[in-house]
């Protein structure tokens, strides 16, 4: 069967449609996900296909909506709650971090919280400081949550279906710049593991571990680097909790050089964890250069498009950092 291409947003919609079709416990919640079709037009026509009881517009209260979703999950339903922006999930932190993530543990396993939170995330669309953040590392710090960040249409469909089936709360970060990106997407029902990174490009010169939109920038950078004879191995981390340590460690053992690229603020971010995993592992003895991180600047995301671009790693930044690493300049 030839590869059928869907956009990232279409792949999500397809996954949600399949889940709604296959499992009557599944229903969607979120602000403007019904008739309006969602802030980023992801749910689209699902309300017409499945009705307002299963594609439910909720009031402008993230705390209330998330609370209802967690409660419904406790009763055995499979809610999928969409935040308009991951930034707004801060209003629902109590429900996500204190309730959803803790209840199975605190009730001795007597309950599960099979809720899915979808969080459009990241910069690049001129959303300014309160609509452009990358806070996935915050949630990845919480035991009891699963946190994934798919970077392709195929992955977002498979991971969303796996997340809906999963008995525990799962947060799916969807980078806004990916929504229109097209890619081969298998038809029908399939699941993509929620705990495995994937190698997007093999190479022996250095390892680039990237997330979300940075995976694509890293791949573009790798093509440029290849012209210099630098073969970068690009790992799409995909899963932040649990994190696929083995994939990182085995790649660094092969290449001896590590560059972590992520959009969140650099300090105390995903790159710190990736670096520490390597430093603590058997890959340490294979490091032939310091570990480098490329992350967001230590500032709110600016509104100015020029500054917004400058605030997070771009292809040329990755190329420059990888060159310095590969040429032993750091």
């Amino acid at each position: 069967m030839s590869a059928r291409e869907l956009s990232y947003a279409e792949a999500i919609r397809e996954a949600l449609g399949i889940a709604l079709e296959h499992d009557e416990r599944v229903f969607l919640m979120g602000e403007d996900i019904g008739v309006y079709g969602g802030a980023f037009q992801v749910t689209g026509d699902l309300v017409e296909r499945f009705g307002e009881e299963r594609v439910m517009d909720t009031p402008i209260s993230e705390l209330g909506g998330a609370g209802v979703a967690v409660g419904a999950a406790l009763t055995g339903m499979r809610p999928v709650y969409e935040f308009q922006f991951s930034d707004f999930s801060m209003l629902a932190m109590e429900q996500i971090v204190n309730q959803a993530a803790k209840l199975r543990y605190m009730l001795g396993g007597a309950v599960n919280v099979p809720v899915v939170f979808r969080m459009p995330t990241g910069s690049g669309l001129g959303g300014a400081a309160q609509h452009s953040q990358s806070i996935e590392a915050w949630y990845a710090h919480v035991p009891g949550l699963k946190v994934v960040e798919p970077s392709t249409p195929e992955d977002v469909k498979g991971m969303l279906l796996a997340a809906i089936k999963d008995p525990d709360p799962v947060i799916v970060f969807e980078h806004k710049l990916l929504y229109k990106m097209k890619g081969a997407t298998p038809e029908g029902y399939y699941e993509t593991p929620l705990d495995r990174a994937v190698i997007r490009r093999e190479g022996g010169g250095l390892t680039i571990v990237a997330t979300a939109i940075m995976v694509h920038r890293a791949l573009e950078a790798a093509d440029i680097l290849a012209k210099d004879g630098i073969e970068a191995e690009v790992i799409d981390l995909r899963c932040l909790r649990p994190i696929d340590k083995d994939a990182i460690v085995s790649s660094v053992k092969k290449t001896g050089r590590l560059l972590a690229v992520y959009e969140g603020v650099k300090t105390l971010g995903i790159g710190a964890e990736i670096s520490a995993i390597v430093a603590e592992s058997e890959a340490f003895d294979y490091l032939d250069a310091p570990i480098l991180r490329l992350g967001g600047v230590e500032a709110p995301i600016p509104y100015s498009p020029i500054l917004e671009k400058a605030a997070v790693p771009q292809v040329e930044d990755i190329v420059a950092a990888a060159r310095r690493l590969a040429h032993g300049e750091v």
Binding site: G256, F284, D285, Y286, L287, D288, A289, G328, V330
Partner: protein, 458 residues
Amino acid sequence: MAVEIVMPRVDMDMTSGRMGRWHAPEGAHVEKGATLFEIETDKAAMEVDAPASGVLKFVAASEGDVLPVGACIGWIVPEGESFAPPPEKADALPIARPETSVLPNALWRGRDGLGGPESSQRIDQTQMGGPPPGLPHDSPSKDGRPSGRPMGGGEVVGERPRATPAARRVARERGLRLESVNGSGPRGRVQRRDVEQGGAASNVHRLWLQRGEGAPIVFLHGFGADLNGWRPVHRLLPETLPALAIDLPGHGLSPLGEEASFAALVEAARAALIEEGVGAAHLIGHSLGGAVAATLAHEPGVKALSLMLIAPAGLGPETNAAFFNGFLQADTEAALTPWLHMLATDAAALGSALARTTLRQRRERPLVADQRRLAKAILAGGRQAIDIRGLLPTPEAPTKIVVGLEDRITPPHQAEGLSGLIALHRFAHVGHMPHLEARREVAALIEELVRAGQRSQR
């Protein structure tokens, strides 16, 4: 006046030393010039003499302690004088780097008003065999730091070589020392490829005792020794002469490969020289290393500008087979010492720590097994299997042979009957180790030979 005893810097490249044995207990009276303690640097063991006469007090280091150069390890206080060492300076003076905070108080002279230390004098021993004639008296500079100490300029006292984890691993796996690898990374960092390139082609440990312009002196040690044996005589040579010392396979830090043969030693030495970019050299070899030097000089690859063979092997069949057996079998200090004493007429020339150092190295590396294999290859039926006489017809480069008339390993008469163009230097009352027993004379001969070699090159 109390005199501080510090960890001396005995080598250019020394940053720290391991305390050996004290020859006097705390509280004992010691005489200036008498052996006071032993140290083991990462290269060699040696004795250090008391810098003054008095009572050994405030001993701050015991056997096995590793201390940076300049660290205070005790004080010698004149009889009857009351003295208190200056307090720890770490809290009294700002020390920028955490690495330096481990320094004991030795790097700092006393400060005003603390009493006592004003009357102390700093001794910096730069040579073994006694305190130097001129005492470098470090006066604290304005910021309270003593001048001329290795504190500034980015150097960190006691720092390990700058190397990546991968370089360290590869060096570990191959038994190479990072100190002997040139780092190509930022600030001289040794990277994996440096170790691989520096060690893959010839797994031969070598060390530049002195870097510099022009063709270097190349030192090749004898059976059972290693490159550290050259340090005493090298210290007497001018710093303008570059010098490279090699650990032959099966010795020091160079492993013996599959092939245990004399040819393999020559090949390893040649490969090391070529890797170091040495195309022409003044070759100086002792005993087995003398035979290696003569063979290197005779064969293409490395041009010998001059050649010095010290008590060389390969000039005749006789040798002291019992020595080889006894030397390799001895596994205690008591058993080894008599065999070592057979090397020299004056055992003191060897240094008292030699037996312990040898035994320690044997524990750390498979030297005995390697040297047994080598001994089988270079001795046949208790006689020398190497013959270099045929390689020395009419020398193309200035050549000297140096022997001791009391040599009990290679009979000195073997050096007779060679070309009249080869200078033969015969030292009375000297054994198999002229470069240690008559080191000043041998150093002078080396200088003379190198000058002759340089002249003949023009």
